[in-house]
């Protein structure tokens, strides 16, 4: 199976989307769902090939004299690819309910850019070298820009400007120099087990600077102070926030950092030189500070956005701890957090469509009107916090274990503190909705979200619970990573 196939469904569906257009919207959305299922099937084939130990790679396209574009599958990428393609299908189903229920304009453009972004995410997931990953990374920024500015009003244009500026400045100003530096020092940009920098003869100081350039240059990972775009981008329609800003875009960021740490620096190099020690405090600060900021936000999506920033920094922290256990935990957290957070975003969107409410303080008593949504919100919140019976437990456990393996219990304290904060800012939302009396008298009866949206919420919630009971396939897959 050539990983290039993963680019085919999302790209091929674009002409269909344009062709069907607004007038035949059922066909338009059906074609996207078909493409999504095809993509999922392709990713599944790649998964089984990788598990059975086959080499899965594409040909190469020589972009620069010594560096080429090339795709190949490795465990982390397969996991990310599966995740993104699965959630693409679910989000499309959800969007049908949301976009129609909300009467959004320019839906055709929306679905086109969405498909394009998914193709770029696939390229990122299967990138065989840093150059390919960088190309895909930039393409994701550009293809999601029209989604952020979808509404076309002043607020969304301002957010779009910030989005583009922060991400592009980070990637061109910091990440690209790091890549060129690596290319000059090591003579290659390939992802190799154990890293490519060990023979480059770089001093400890250079490696520390290089690592910092990578961590801060990858603005999508939203480590402070590069995080501002994420809350701003929440002006986008909720399905965009859900898939792109809780899963695809931000996860590409942390995925990039995980890949760079594992296959460019090599975890041994980072742990023996101790260079991560300079960056880790900032990452830990991000974990705590953004949780604290999340407290102060009354807007539901803004609170979820800050919660995302905090959770992303878990993964960055896991990468920088640079032990096999912590990196596995970080990679696992990509999936675990994705299902939890997408459930929460779906719920937020459902509340917006059905009740037209965006503020948390207005949700008192709304559990009676949207019990299913609110219950799913509760499960999703448990997933983010890391409490049974939801998925986040395992990844947090692994990251904590990795911290011990790295010989520093301090980072466990950070994790636990942030978990407490998670409980404090997430759980009150469903609790208020169920147990507090409503502010104004409400009409009795259920006003749940449109059926497709509700179906999507139910599905992600189910997966959230399933992953608690059956995390083993994922852990087995990540066990195939070649560390050295």
């Amino acid at each position: 199976m050539n990983p290039l196939w993963t680019l085919v469904p999302p790209l091929v569906v674009i002409p269909f989307i344009i062709f069907f257009g607004e007038s035949r919207r059922n066909l338009r959305e059906a074609s996207i769902i078909l493409a999504g299922i095809a993509l999922l099937a392709i990713n599944d084939r790649i998964y089984s090939a990788v598990v059975s130990g086959k080499v899965v790679e594409s040909g190469e396209l020589s972009l620069l004299a010594n560096f080429s574009l090339r795709l190949s599958a490795e465990p982390m990428g397969v996991m990310f690819g599966l995740l993104a393609s699965f959630l693409w299908v679910v989000t499309t189903v959800y969007s049908i309910g949301y976009m129609r229920g909300h009467d959004e304009k320019n839906q055709t453009r929306f679905y086109c850019c969405f498909a394009l972004a998914i193709a770029c995410v696939m390229a990122a997931a299967y990138a065989d070298n840093l150059l390919t990953l960088f190309v895909a990374y930039e393409a994701i920024t550009l293809s999601t820009f029209p989604l952020v500015t979808h509404a076309g009003n002043d607020a969304s244009r301002k957010a779009g400007r910030l989005y583009l500026l922060l991400l592009m400045c980070g990637s061109i100003g910091l990440f690209l120099p790091a890549i060129i530096w690596i290319a000059t020092a090591a003579g290659t940009l390939d992802f190799k087990a154990g890293g490519i920098l060990s023979d480059a003869g770089m001093s400890k100081a250079s490696i520390a600077v290089l690592l910092a350039l990578c961590v801060f240059g990858v603005g999508k990972a939203a480590v402070m102070p590069m995080h501002r775009w994420l809350p701003a981008a929440m002006v986008a329609p909720t399905p965009v926030s859900a898939l792109l800003h809780a899963v695809a875009v931000v996860k590409t960021g942390v995925f990039t950092i995980l890949k760079v740490v594992t296959y460019t620096f090599g975890i041994d190099m980072i742990s023996t030189t101790g260079v991560a020690g300079y960056v880790l405090p900032i990452v830990a600060f991000t974990v705590i500070a953004s949780s604290l900021i999340a407290f102060t936000k009354d807007n539901l999506k803004a609170r979820l956005a800050y919660s995302t920033i905090s959770q992303l920094s878990y993964i960055v922290m896991a990468a920088l701890l640079a032990t096999t256990m912590s990196v596995t935990g970080g990679a696992l957290h990509i999936v675990m957090h994705a299902f939890g957070k997408i459930t929460l975003f779906f719920c937020a969107g459902a509340i917006m469509v059905s009740l037209h409410k965006t503020q948390i303080s207005d949700l008192d008593g709304m559990g009676r009107r949207m019990p299913i949504t609110m219950f799913c919100f509760f499960i999703g919140a448990l997933g983010i916090i890391g409490l049974p019976p939801a998925s986040g437990v395992w990844s947090k456990l692994l990251i904590a274990g990795g911290s011990l393996e790295a010989g520093n219990a301090f980072w466990i304290a950070v994790l636990m503190l942030s978990t407490l904060l998670n409980i404090a800012y997430l759980l009150p939302i469903p609790l208020r909705a169920f147990f507090k009396p409503a502010k104004e008298p409400v009409t009795e009866g259920w006003t749940e979200a449109p059926f497709p949206s509700l179906w999507a919420i139910g599905l992600t919630t189910t997966v959230c619970i399933l992953l608690f009971f059956f995390p083993q396939p994922l852990i087995n897959l990540l066990g195939l990573i070649q560390w050295r």
């Binding site: 972009l63 080429s68 690209l176």
Partner: protein, 496 residues
Amino acid sequence: MIADQLPALTIVLPMLAAPLCVLARRPLACWVIALCANFLAVLSAWGMFWQVRDDGVIRYALGGWAAPTGIEYYVDMMNATMLLLVSFISCVVLVYAYRSVNKSVQSAKHYLFYAAWMLCLTGLLGICITGDAFNVFVFLEISSLSMYMLIAFGNDKRALFASFRYLIMGSIGASFILIGIGFLYAATGALNMVDLAQRIPDAESQRAVLVAFSFLTIGLMIKSAVFPLHGWLANAYQHSPVAVTAFLAGTATKVSLYVLLRFFFSIFGPGYSFGSMFLNVVLLPAAVAGFLMLSLVAIFQTDLRRMLAYSSVAQIGYIIAAFCLASQSGLTAGIVHIINHGIIKTVLFMSVGCILYRVGHTHSNSLDNLFHKMPLTVTAFILSGLGLIGVPLTVGFVSKFSLISASMERGWWMIGALVLLSSLFAIVYIGRVVEIMLFRKSRNSTPEPVGRHEAPMMMLIPMYVLIGISIWFGVSGSTTLAVASEAAAALLGGYQ
């Protein structure tokens, strides 16, 4: 055999087309003549390119007179590439020019326009092909004089002033170059470039060579619009007919940069220019200040053409900075950027020309929601704008990646960092315009008629041909990098 006569044909064909245009008079006939001549020039440049690539340098004695007496055409990888680039861009823009010129130039003057265009092309190709220093000056004057004329065709009174201003600056530049060549002749007694290159090492100690070097440096800096001697460029680009701007932006300054390369690397040799004369001390600060300040200036321009003109000066700064590295990788980066920037800047000006054609002005602040009216044009603008920024998979990325890695190789970290900084400015000035075109709702109280009103196909197709090429060069950058690296090797290797 015709294959042996290609160097002469490349020059003679467009030169003959000019008087033919004057004889023919009718606009369409002139255009067909010019286009045919141009197309044949492209074919012969293409033929020469492959001859050089396969069999090595072509040395062609014009009129059969051998080198020291007669004029010699000397074609290596470097100028074969330039010839192909210049003739090809001219050909594509000429196709585009027909509709655009019909609208902006009085039809009674069309024959002069095409004649001047052909002369300009002759001059530019001649500069590239010749192996004789004085002949460079002659062709430089041919191209410059016809260029002043082309610029003055702009239908705005300010075009005359812009043309006059360019004439003054251009003449100063050209006289400096002439003085430089004169001194060289006095010091060495040679005008043939190969001879010059051989004799200069013996004459290096003479003050005349030093003076020649200084005059040439300043003269070439003016002609190639290196900051701070770029004053003529913005007006000329803004007010001339937009097809001319597209043609000039892709070729004129690039050819001057080629002459600069030829003199400093092949004739004087990098050891002399950058070793004993410390040329990089002069050029590098100018280049860096150029690309930083002019990118910044471009942000504040409200006229699209002026913005792109300043961005051109900034891009020339990148190219000069790459030359200053005086290494194989640095020259490769510079030459690749000559090719890449030549293509994308032409496309940008062509798309602005389409906007001018339909909208009637190029004030970036009143192009609200243009995307709905002219989707193809705006797409072209965005695609090449991304190239200007240097987004991966565009040609700009190939150039910038090689420039930055070349400067890191040399240990000049700062240059790499500053190049990136100015790329960030490029995000702002391109992004600002794109945002207006894509997302801003029209503020006019009377809504304009909505609906597609795309530029004519004859303007769109040539534009998309160039875009196709730029995408190809962006996705598979090693194609151009390989050519550029052979050209750089030819320059650094000196004359055989």
